[in-house]
Symmetry: C2
Subunit: 206 residues, 2 copies
DNA sequence: GTCTATATATTGATAGAC
DNA sequence: GTCTATCAATATATAGAC
């Protein structure tokens, strides 16, 4: 017979609680005491597993690397076979997160990227996460083959998709509205439509 | 004869110190004590002018509204007559700020947008700042007249430019490199080139 | 490994003299 | 309006029993 799920280890409970609180409240605004309460753990356990709050942040950022596919990419890849549409399905996932949170919370890594300024290792780890995201999108763009012009740099375009996602999420957050997000994605779509459009004959001045 | 510049008022010294520190360290990580030290003021003066640290943040965000043209737009408008090139000159201003700070500091409002989550008034004021920015860019796009297709929504496109700026600045910050910024602007340029390209004859399948 | 109790520093904010 | 002194709360982190 099925047994009840075992309670996760203390360390992973702390990690999970921190991940959620850093996402909701930000790293500087989250106290160790709050993390402990949410994780149902004690101060002694915390400092047994982590040297400091700062080290916990770095562990959370490593954790996010593992979550890229299960939390961000897998669903888009599973439901959307067309590689170009997959890219927009990934963006749709962020739209859904905004929708579910009243347009308050989008990408937790973008938040760390801007709110932290004195922990260079944190930026390095966010950069690694961004690289993983960009590579996943780049893979889609490469899978699109010759539907995109050969001279379009896939890496640059994938980086641009991340740029648009982060900027769009930010604006949705401050406006508490999906409109700026949808507008930005609409413009990105127009750009892709152009890139994928049939060969053009440009009328030349006589 | 010329007199030495008068020392700014205590209130404006506090406001200016806060603006810079919130930009460099973020709002939660900046203590009132630091602001006072930088402003050469005392706790008593601070709470004479501001009800709380939170109210100071709101005052700083109002202050930014006044700084939009002098700090962000004026130079681009003065040096670049072409309205489309003006938009890219504005982006060039952010590139310069990144360059001058080792790719660590871009837009202070984007930072507040993501690091603050429990002060709705702060988001409202960032939204007002973003609106001003978008409107300034929108004005350029409208000045471009029929160089852009009539059916392109100027507001949506201006919002997209802000999206790209914020996302590009964020990536430059985490990578400590201008490359992601330049890549994103290059893609935005390609999109504008497309929008401004001569009327196209699309080859139709037979 | 987990617990409670606590050390030490710093936080935002206030009081009251001048 | 500006000053110093200080409050009360909270922060991260540690000590040492179990």
């Amino acid at each position: 017979m099925a047994t009840a799920a075992a309670k996760p280890s203390t360390r992973s409970r702390i990690l999970e609680a921190a991940r959620e609180l850093f996402w909701l409240k930000g790293y500087p605004e989250t106290s160790v005491a709050e993390i402990l309460e949410k994780a149902e753990a004690n101060s002694g356990s915390f400092y047994y597993y982590f040297k400091s709050k700062e080290e916990l942040l770095l562990a959370v950022l490593d954790y996010y690397v593992d979550l890229l596919y299960p939390e961000v990419m897998d669903q888009a890849f599973a439901t959307t076979p067309d590689p170009i549409e997959r890219v927009f399905a990934v963006l749709g996932g962020y739209r859904y997160a905004l929708e579910m949170t009243g347009c308050t919370f989008g990408c937790p890594l973008g938040r760390v990227a801007l709110e932290i300024s004195d922990i260079p290792q944190a930026h390095e780890k966010v950069a690694i996460n961004f690289q993983g995201w960009v590579n996943a999108v780049k893979k889609c763009l490469m899978d699109a083959g010759n539907r995109l012009p050969a001279d379009v740099d896939r890496h640059q375009l994938a980086q641009f998709v991340l740029t648009v996602m982060e900027g769009a999420v930010m604006q949705a957050r401050v406006h508490r509205s999906l409109e700026p997000f949808d507008n930005s994605v609409a413009q990105l779509r127009a750009y892709f439509r152009y890139l994928m459009s049939a060969p053009r004959v440009v009328r030349v001045k006589e």
